[in-house]
Symmetry: C2
Subunit: 343 residues, 2 copies
Amino acid sequence: MQILMRSRSPHQRPGRAAAVAALAFLLVGQHAHAQVDPLPCWNEGPARKAVLEFVRAATDPAGPGFVPPEERIATFDNDGTLWVEQPIYTQVAFALDRVRKLAPGHSEWKTEEPFRSILSGDRDAMTRFTIQDFARVIATTHSGMTVDEFHAIIKEWLAAAKHPRYRRPYTELVYQPMLELLRHLRANGFKIYIVTGGGQEFVRVFAESIYGVPPEQIIGSAGKVKFEYGRDGEPTLVKLPDVLLLDDKAGKPEGINLVIGRKPHASFGNSTGDRQMLEWTQAGTGARLMMLVHHDDSRREYDYGVNSKIGTFSEELMEEARRRGWVVISMKDDWNRIFPFEK
Amino acid sequence: MQILMRSRSPHQRPGRAAAVAALAFLLVGQHAHAQVDPLPCWNEGPARKAVLEFVRAATDPAGPGFVPPEERIATFDNDGTLWVEQPIYTQVAFALDRVRKLAPGHSEWKTEEPFRSILSGDRDAMTRFTIQDFARVIATTHSGMTVDEFHAIIKEWLAAAKHPRYRRPYTELVYQPMLELLRHLRANGFKIYIVTGGGQEFVRVFAESIYGVPPEQIIGSAGKVKFEYGRDGEPTLVKLPDVLLLDDKAGKPEGINLVIGRKPHASFGNSTGDRQMLEWTQAGTGARLMMLVHHDDSRREYDYGVNSKIGTFSEELMEEARRRGWVVISMKDDWNRIFPFEK
């Protein structure tokens, strides 16, 4: 910039010089930014390296992996990938609390399963619940109100509920390294979608404030809704007990096609429910990144990886990851910090 | 800028002066831009005025109608709102051509309805087709291939097909005033979604190139898809003959909730199929704009408004528009040009 200014002739138009100086300014600014580590909670190692290398390749216009800005889509599973999913899914904790709250109006639940076991706190019986039992609990607690009312119910619950181990609101139990990853991808032009087996409306309530992901970028399991006119004649959307989408396993690429209509270039999951999403992500040209969070840290979080009996991260999934070159993130080894509240 | 430069002392830091000059540049640029009419194809009148006033109100941070940037969502019907829908929907023309193309492999269609009538060109019979007849034609022509293959088939058809009256590709039959409206909304921070009763995948093929609307902003009627592994083991999505979403009438606000999860602040339609979308758009605070395109121009386009026998713009819809303050666009009076190819 010094040289530029010294060589400027007094007859040169000031507008052009100003524009050049402003451009130089911007370039210096960008360079300074690039020197700040975008992933301070990621230890040196293959996982951190894979993220940085993918972003570099996707944004290098001269390289073979270049991804045009409009195609920069990254999809993230939620439970166990962005926040804690043990000892039970947050949404299941919500549904169980909701059954307890609604019980005074349902005397029949005292004898009717699965409600009887929930209300009597029979944990053994609850661990034997079938998919149908859970479906009935979800249908009962997640329908019969408008979408706006449902959001308000969840908001109220989230403000009061605490995780049994960490004694903090569930919304604080997000993984700090993943927040850094979201920020790094966004800073490089990626549009972030959450693709969850959990409920789309449930996740919409908190995803904008805790992850910065807006409602139109949440794909999830969804119940049907019905357009109706309320008592005041105002149009409303009422939640029905029927399922429209099951956004898990093969349902993930199907949901991605419905809502996005493009193949993601990066996908992040932690279980067999994310397998097809990662396979779908890999099946294309340009830079691609497929990562799985492996829960192997019983001290700071939970250990339910391939070495554990409660794992959803099967030996078969680990073998597929090896075969296809997916990157497995060891929470124990790759992350030097798990939660934002840790110092 | 002259004054700024003259007052500059020789000891002033060049960086700051350059930044100020660049800022002045930007402000002058913005001011110059504001003076260009964003809607040259719209005649002076209530429709044009409503658009300009809505955008002004939505973007005025000090006013009562202000809409935060992240909530600036506008939804557009496609057929009859953004492009020509007479004498038949473009997608129906595609489906009929597809039946003719596939006929050599289906000798049974020679006697089987509704295919027999299509293949023999029996227009009288075709005008009597039931919803079920059309559903069968759509299911037959829109399934059994991968999503990518389906896109390629549509692309090939669009490149060759011509509209029977205008003798031009269907993709040229877009309304120039609506292209201006899309541009004006986008320039003011609005995210544009198409919400069509037509097929989501069909519209995705051309919406980015003709309207600048990307695949993730297309909501439409959708068939189910199935995640499968192709012959080479690669994951694919195969189109099934079953319907997942019918994005018409009440299905429009339902589809908007599924894909966007926010209420639009502006909606544009042209028929009874758009009624619920406009009602839903109106049911909220901040600036709101609901508009209906009225086809009353038989000379330049078609006349199938309330005065016509083939109208989908019923007298009842016109009455609701009056009652609710929706703005009706008269193609004859409000638009001084219909198509981009007109000079």
